[in-house]
């Protein structure tokens, strides 16, 4: 049992930090120190990841720490770290409560880390809820802002509904197999391959996961929540929870339902096609950068699902690498908004970026790199990610899906480079103030360098993703 604890030392450490936050908070005069404490504890928990011994079965077969879960835990911690860097200035200007904010971010982080290693329906559900409830609070964090309230309520109502569907699916699975552990589900559900109940259960679980990764037709909440939520929270939602949802998606379908592969693959193939196409077409006309990126994240979910459909070595490999590049692209893209002030609000529209290159050439050049990565133009991480995904589709013979995917990613150039156009080819307006902040700059610089590194020297990261595949 003690060995079991060592395997989740990182999570345990973060949980203690969470409790400490609550105890210490009333006595703190300068609450800003919480910001540094969060960064510090995330760093420690990242280091602890390297010390966690791998284990096939923990706590009566409810958790599993393999390379796969470590990979995702790493992604989660890095993305939370970057989000916290983005948050400091934002919270100060919005005069929001500090401790609770960092508490919820870290709480969601712990939830996600457990989710990445869950191999039991109960732990999956619990960790999923820990993450989800923290996310609902975070989306509605700015009490005085209507948009934020709307986002919080909307996310909460739709989120709980989807969780209900998720659990409904679980209950069918349990009814059929009398087990909650993924490995024994996989053993038993084979016998029900023609049972409509089993198919219904899988369909329910799929729908709930499609909601989480915002795939068509369960994507409706995404633009509104992403637009309404406080910007650092949007960056958070689009990175960690998305990556973790894909992790649990992979875990569930590859470990529990491999015997239904042909059936769910068909559904995912079509969902993938509609998701990327819809996301791209809807993004074309957006004026708000946040909404545009929200639709673009729908499109990205579609590309990742191509890897899911194709499967095979390249497909799952591609998904992992894609998610690694994706957190850097999305966090930095949303973070850009924190550079611009428009009166009492933030420069959230694409037009607000007009002429930024005249104020900061370096930042504008960096933004172009982020955009190139989002489109999938080399030498950036986004290219290698798309290369792996499309490779898998070609290799496994899903040529039509690959063609749809590349045409979609070429189309996405049109809306992403509207931002590039604004930066370099329009005149700046006096109304917009460019206010660089050292923490935000740090997060964005780090992300841009990471994207370049992933694109120019991808070999070590590709091997990392490869050894992290589910066995």
């Amino acid at each position: 049992m003690l060995n079991d604890l060592a395997s989740i030392s990182s999570e345990i450490f973060l949980s203690f930090v969470l409790i400490a936050f609550l105890i210490v908070d009333p006595f703190l005069k300068r609450k800003k120190i919480i910001h540094f404490l969060s960064l510090f504890s995330l760093t420690i928990s990242f280091v602890l990841l390297f010390l966690e011994p791998l284990s096939e079965s923990l706590f009566f077969n409810t958790l599993k720490v393999d390379q796969f879960s470590l990979f995702f835990k790493g992604i989660i911690i890095v993305s939370s770290f970057l989000v916290i860097l983005l948050s400091e200035k934002f919270l100060e200007i919005e005069q929001a409560n500090l401790t609770e904010y960092y508490f919820f971010i870290l709480l969601a982080t712990v939830g996600m880390m457990f989710m990445a290693s869950s191999v039991d329906l109960i732990t999956i559900f619990l960790s999923y809820e820990i993450m989800a409830i923290a996310s609902y609070f975070l989306s509605g964090y700015l009490k005085k802002e209507n948009r934020s309230n709307e986002a919080g309520i909307k996310y909460f109502i739709l989120g709980t509904l989807s969780t209900g569907i998720f659990v409904f699916g679980f209950s069918f699975v349990f009814g059929l197999t009398s087990s909650t552990s993924l490995s024994s589900i996989a053993e038993n559900i084979k016998n029900f391959s023609d049972s409509p109940i089993a198919l219904l259960a899988i369909l329910f679980i799929l729908s709930a996961l499609f909601f989480k990764i915002s795939a068509v037709p369960f994507h409706m909440w995404t633009p509104d929540v992403y637009e309404g939520a406080p910007t650092p929270v949007t960056a958070f939602l689009s990175a960690g929870p998305k990556a973790t949802s894909f992790a649990i998606f992979l875990r569930l379908f590859l470990e529990a339902f491999p015997s239904f592969e042909n059936k769910w693959k068909l559904v995912i193939a079509w969902v993938s096609f509609f998701t990327m196409t819809y996301g791209n077409i809807a993004a074309l006309t957006q004026k708000s950068l946040k909404r545009m990126l929200a639709y673009s994240s729908i499109a990205h979910a579609g590309y990742i699902l191509i890897g899911f459909t194709a499967g095979g070595e390249f497909g799952y490999w591609g998904i992992l690498f894609y998610l690694l590049a994706y957190i850097f692209m999305n966090i930095s893209a949303f973070g850009l908004i924190l550079f611009l002030r428009k009166g009492n609000s933030w420069g959230e529209d694409i037009d607000d970026f007009n002429g930024l290159s005249k104020r900061s050439l370096l930042l504008s050049a960096g933004i172009v790199i982020i955009l190139m990565s989002l489109v999938g133009i080399p030498p950036t991480g986004g290219f290698i990610a798309k290369y792996l995904i499309f490779s898998s589709a070609i290799k496994e013979g899903y040529v039509a899906l690959a063609v749809a995917g590349v045409l979609n990613s070429a189309l996405s150039l049109f809306y992403y480079f509207r931002l590039g156009q604004a930066l370099f080819m329009k005149e700046p307006s006096e109304e917009i103030k460019y206010e660089p902040d050292s923490f935000v700059s740090m997060a964005i610089t780090f992300s841009i360098l990471a994207l370049l590194l992933l694109g120019i020297l991808p070999a070590p990261f590709m091997s990392l993703a490869k050894i992290s595949l589910l066995k």
Binding site: L361, S391, I394, V403, L411, Q421, A459, S463
Partner: protein
């Protein structure tokens, strides 16, 4: 021989990066320093590329100056560079035209100099990289890198409709290149499955015989990538916008180099790797080329805008290149490659010629100019030379290229050559008519009376192009010699019959003195 051991191709490709770094660290107010740095860096890079000629052995088989380092070993991506005669000529053209286009921006570009020169140097890296890469992924990386600086060059320093032209150029070419990427991936997996070696090494793929059905689909995927870039007939609509709105340096490089990336792609990858499909596609490719030749020329005749006229003439000239390539005889291919170089020289120069009057008058309408020869004698002389080079007057470069293409095509089907020849006539018509309208006659518009003739810098930037035009026109043998080996290799692979019947078909029109390949 120490120099020959240096990684010359890497140096030539990435040398402009030094310039980019210096410019990044320079204050943007120091305009003269910025201009000087960019000029010096691109000039040095041209000189370095001349070293390639010195150490290049035209009679050796295969690729030279090869550099191969594993890049992503797990999927078989290599940093693999090497050149043969065809790519050597194009690399030289690239370094020369890059230098000239940096030079020709000295007076024309007045704002945001720092960004301008950084983008030009970045563009140079991408263009050279395309011509020296022998690994498909490396090639694709450079291929895409080219798009970004060109997009910003058109979008920031372009004229009137620049935003539209910039995004149209970017979108069009990206659509083509992502489909090409799928073709590359298909080749990779099929080559891997058939030989057991998963690699993006293009040279290995050239010696593998793919199934004709596979070739068909991959050819189609490559076709979209390359044909949009060339551009071939139905895909040419981005070209007039991009060429017309781009700043002079951008137009020179677009016409001079970027279009060649498409034709280079066909001759380097499509023909040798997909020979069966290439043969199957000959009728379609020839048809599209002939349409481009005639259609491009007819549309040029109708243009009111000087620069747009030159842009459409590119469609026609690139039709010649493609026609020669898909005639697939050694002579036609030689003409095709030479015509790539010629088009870079003459059209690049013609764009600079438009740029010079545009800098002075800020209009490109042909009707705004008349009788310029009176006030600008030197200018009119340079224009005349370049016009004749573009038309294909004997003694100038265009003649050699077009002649070889026509001779080579004639051997295959005389009808093709006949149609193409009418294109030459039309070409003479629109160029001469243009010259007559803008240069000859009397000056009626008072704004033209005080037009300044070429200054020394402007004249100097034409000198290398004029020398090359005469050199290729009078003594093209060294050029044919350099490209001879690789072209025979391509023909051997794609159309071996052409080499088997020497009695009917002369293999060379300019024998190099060695004994003929039988």
């Amino acid at each position: 021989m120490e120099i020959a051991r240096l990684p010359l191709l890497t140096i030539v490709t990435f040398f402009p990066a030094i310039g980019i770094l210096i410019l990044l660290l320079t204050n943007k107010e120091k305009t003269n320093f910025i201009k000087l740095t960019a000029n010096i860096v691109s000039a040095i890079n041209f000189l370095i590329s001349l070293l390639l000629v010195v150490y290049f052995n035209p009679s050796a088989e295969g690729f030279q100056f090869v550099e191969k380092v594993s890049w992503v070993p797990s999927v078989g991506i290599n940093y693999f560079m090497g050149i043969d005669g065809i790519s050597l000529l194009l690399v030289l053209l690239t370094t020369l035209l890059s230098f000239i286009s940096v030079l020709c921006s000295w007076g024309g570009i007045t704002e945001r100099l720092k960004e301008f020169y950084i983008l030009l140097l970045l563009l140079e890296i991408g263009m050279i990289g395309v011509f020296v890469s022998l690994d498909f992924i490396l090639f694709y990386v450079f291929w895409e890198i080219v798009l970004v600086p060109m997009y910003f060059l058109i979008g920031i320093w372009g004229t009137y409709n620049k935003l539209y032209a910039a995004i149209k150029f970017f979108l069009y070419t990206l659509f083509g290149s992502v489909l090409m990427l799928l073709g590359i991936l298909a080749l990779y997996f099929i080559h891997g499955a058939e030989t057991g070696e998963y690699t993006f090494d293009a040279v290995k793929m050239m010696s593998h015989n793919f199934d004709p059905r596979v070739q068909f689909w991959v050819f189609l995927a490559f076709f979209f990538g390359f044909a949009i870039k060339v551009p071939m007939f139905p895909f040419h609509t981005w070209l007039p916008d991009a060429h017309t709105e781009a700043p002079t340096a951008g137009s020179v490089l677009l016409a001079g180099i970027l279009l060649k990336m498409g034709t280079y792609g066909f001759i380097r990858f499509s023909l040798p790797i997909l020979p069966d499909a290439s043969r199957k596609f000959v009728p379609l490719m020839v048809l599209l080329s002939l349409i481009a030749i005639i259609y491009g020329a007819l549309v040029s005749l109708m243009q009111k805008d000087w620069k747009r006229l030159v842009a459409y003439s590119s469609v026609s000239h690139m039709g010649f290149v493609m026609l020669g390539m898909f005639a697939m005889t050694p002579v036609a291919l030689q003409g095709s490659v030479l015509q790539m170089i010629n088009h870079g020289i003459s059209t690049g120069a013609l764009f600079m010629i438009v740029g010079i009057v545009y800098d002075r008058r800020h209009t490109r309408l042909i009707s705004e100019y008349e009788g310029l020869a009176k006030v600008m004698p030197l200018y009119s002389a340079v224009f005349a030379i370049m016009m004749f080079s573009s038309i294909g007057l004997p003694g100038l470069n265009g003649f050699m290229g077009e002649l070889s293409v026509l001779v080579g095509t004639f051997q295959v089907k005389w009808e093709w050559a006949a149609i193409a020849a009418t294109g030459i006539v039309l070409g003479a018509a629109y160029m001469l008519w243009l010259y007559q309208r803008v240069m000859l006659g009397t000056i009626k518009n008072p704004a033209n009376e005080k037009m300044q003739d070429l200054n020394l810098r402007e004249f100097l930037q034409f000198i290398p192009l004029i020398i090359l035009a005469f050199w290729i026109g009078i003594y093209p043998k060294p050029f044919f010699k350099i490209m001879e080996k690789p072209i025979y290799k391509v023909v051997e692979r794609v159309n071996p019959e052409a080499l088997k019947a020497p009695a009917k078909i002369p293999l060379k029109i300019f024998p190099s003195g060695e004994k003929d390949v039988k």
